[in-house]
């Protein structure tokens, strides 16, 4: 009665009637047996219409994307070439040795004329970043001496650079102040309504002064007897032993042919004038002759300081960045603000009255 029971069909048992894609005799549906390739092309296609030329046609910004993808391909190739020359990846110390980049690309409006259609800021920035990477490759190649590779990249970059790149770069080069035949610099400084004309000349180095032994008092202690902790003051007015090693030069600053301390009573004004010399560490190096006109004491002091700072830079270009950081090279643009109608002064308002 109980014949051999069929084994329970387990839920996860493999269905033996499945067909697999990699079977020995593949099943081909009848419709596919027709040789489709030999069928004639459809009649409704208008033969007059041409295919769009650019592969980026359906992005609706074909010109832009074609340029962008070509630049990215060029960048890939340059990077591969530079990697074979063992110049990529470039470590930090080598990267710091590269000359600084001078990137002056066309602005967004100018680039828009290159591509048909509008150019959004995001797309413009993307283009610029790819160009900057290409320019970096060119800079690395030229720094390492591979001028051929750098020169092959340049024409591609020049297409996207500003037309007036040279004039813009020339503007950043600071005008050299010429020295006259005596080695004097002539600079002009301004502040408020004052203008100062400053001539500066370096002081000639004096011969080192050596003190003879009879100048020193006889009872002065010798070097080996000196106890460094004990205060030794024999004569307050005697020259110190170190005087021979450090000659102090005295310099003159004449303002309208009057010495500085007589022309400016206020110590603040004097400090203002001497500050650029102190910051540059050239306090005893230059004599200055100044003609100043216009304004009051503060304005004239500021104008002289401006002129002296520029004069120092003319003689010692290395201190340029120190004085620039201290805001002594830049002409202070603050001027007296005009009085306005309805106000008592430039900003002072008349008392507000409720009624």
């Amino acid at each position: 009665m109980f014949a051999i029971r069929r084994p329970l069909r387990l839920k996860f048992a493999i269905n033996s009637s499945r067909t697999f894609a990699t079977a020995s005799t593949p099943y081909v549906p009848p419709a596919s047996l027709e040789i489709v390739a030999d069928a004639p092309p459809p009649q409704f296609r208008s033969r007059k219409k041409t295919k769009p030329e650019s592969p980026s046609f359906y992005t609706s910004r074909a010109s832009y994307y074609d340029h962008l993808y070509q630049l990215e391909t060029a960048l890939q190739r340059c990077r591969r070439a530079i990697s074979t020359l063992e110049l990529l990846p470039l470590p930090a110390f080598a990267r710091a040795s590269l000359p600084p980049a001078q990137l002056l690309w066309r602005n967004r409006q100018s680039m828009m004329t290159m591509f048909s259609g509008s150019l959004t800021t995001a797309r413009y920035r993307r283009m610029i970043s790819v160009l900057a990477d290409l320019e970096e490759c060119s800079r690395i190649a030229s720094a390492a001496g591979h001028t051929a590779l750098a020169e092959s990249i340049q024409p591609v970059l020049e297409l996207f650079e500003r037309q007036d790149k040279e004039t813009v770069l020339a503007r950043t080069v600071r005008k050299q102040v010429p020295m006259d035949r005596y080695g004097r610099s002539y600079t002009v400084g301004k502040r408020k309504e004052s203008a100062a004309r400053v001539w500066m000349i370096p002081v000639r180095e004096p011969a080192p002064v050596t003190l003879s032994s009879d100048v020193l008092p006889s009872h002065s202690p010798r070097a080996q007897d000196v106890d460094i902790l004990a205060p030794v003051v024999d004569n307050a007015f005697a020259p110190s032993p170190s005087a021979s090693r450090m000659p102090v030069t005295t310099t003159t600053i004449l303002v309208n042919n009057i010495p500085l301390n007589k022309y400016f009573d206020s110590p603040a004004d004097r400090e203002r004038i001497v500050r650029p010399l102190k910051l540059a560490g050239v306090l005893g190096t230059f004599n200055a002759f100044v003609i100043v006109r216009g304004g009051g004491t503060t304005g004239q002091a500021g104008a002289i300081a401006h002129g002296i700072a520029q004069g120092i830079v003319a003689h010692v270009p290395e201190v340029d960045h120190i004085l620039r950081k201290a805001k002594l090279i830049k002409r202070d643009p603050r001027m007296v603000e005009r009085k306005k109608t309805g106000l008592a002064k430039a900003r002072k308002r008349y008392t507000w009255v409720k009624r």
């Binding site: 390739a37 007059k48 769009p52 609706s60 994307y65 930090a92």
Partner: protein, 295 residues
């Protein structure tokens, strides 16, 4: 715990330095490269290290860069549809769907099962779908049809560019956003002259990531353009005409599929060229025959 953390940071520091072995100049000092000779010395030192590595590569393992699979192969060395195997699909991760909670009920026929919470896609059904799509691409290309590859993720960009390039003048790509209205508002986008003189509506569109491009799929349906698309387990396969059930998040899978389809497209172009040549030859022989008969 503190000792363990210290050890981990030490190991991390060692690994960080090991990953960049050529950081310093020959004498070990990291000084600036001021002259041309400094740069040359820097390059020479690095080249010496590279030659040493190459020299010792000849000993040891017989597996080298040339005879092993490299990640750039699916992009630059695609397979034809007739050579495609299940193992290749599996290796590319085409069988990994999304979490089972996101399974679209219409996708169930293409699902093999669940494992580790995710839906496993049945590759036995993927392969014939892919081969059918490939033969469609081949047929469209052989009849002078325009084919557009759409892959709007950044990692799909090189795939889509290369696939369009492989087909030639009939291949197009969209590697950035599909602007809505490209097909339904074509006169505004391309201008009336271009719309009248050029074939603006494509003959086939292939989507490597259909989910962010549903507007594009809808436009293709409105304009009666056949579509092929990689459908994942969270997608209704009926959105495209010829779905390829596979993992849409894997770059390798997309490269494999786009490669197969672009190879088929290239074959279609070659078929069309051969057919044109045959027709030209037969036309010439017919003309010769006619002149002989007249004589």
């Amino acid at each position: 715990m503190a000792a363990f953390c210290a050890q981990r940071t030490r190991i991390a520091t060692v690994l960080r330095h090991a990953r960049r072995p050529f950081t310093s100049v020959a004498d070990g000092s990291e000084s600036r490269l001021l002259s041309q000779d400094d740069w040359t010395a820097f390059q020479v030192h690095r080249a010496e290290r590279s030659t040493l590595v190459d020299l010792f590569s000849n000993f040891g393992s017989t597996q080298s860069r040339d005879n092993t699979w490299q990640p750039h192969h699916p992009l630059h060395r695609p397979t034809a549809s007739r050579d495609l195997t299940l193992s290749a699909l599996l290796a590319a991760g085409a069988h990994l769907g999304h979490h089972s909670s996101l399974l679209n009920p219409n996708f169930i026929p293409y699902a093999y099962g669940t494992r580790a919470g995710i839906t496993v896609i049945d590759l036995d059904r993927t392969l014939p779908h892919l081969r059918r799509a490939a033969s469609l691409v081949r047929a469209v290309a052989s009849r002078d049809g325009t084919i557009v590859f759409v892959g709007t993720r950044s990692d799909l960009r090189p795939t889509v560019l290369k696939a369009a390039q492989r087909i030639g003048s009939q291949g197009y790509h969209i590697a950035e956003k599909w602007l809505p209205g490209t097909l339904t508002n074509k006169v505004h986008f391309f201008g009336p002259e271009v719309t009248l003189s050029e074939r603006v509506v494509p003959d086939l569109v292939i989507f490597l990531n259909p989910i962010p491009n549903l507007h594009a799929i809808r436009e293709c349906a409105i304009e009666h353009v056949p579509t092929i698309g990689i459908v994942d387990s969270n997608v209704d396969p009926r959105i495209v005409m010829y779905p390829i059930p596979a993992n849409d998040e894997s770059t390798r899978t997309a490269e494999l599929i786009a490669g197969v389809l672009s190879i088929a497209g290239r074959e279609g172009v070659e078929i069309a060229a051969e057919r044109a040549q045959k027709r030209a030859r037969s036309a010439r022989s017919m003309a010769k025959h006619r002149t002989l008969k007249v004589d």
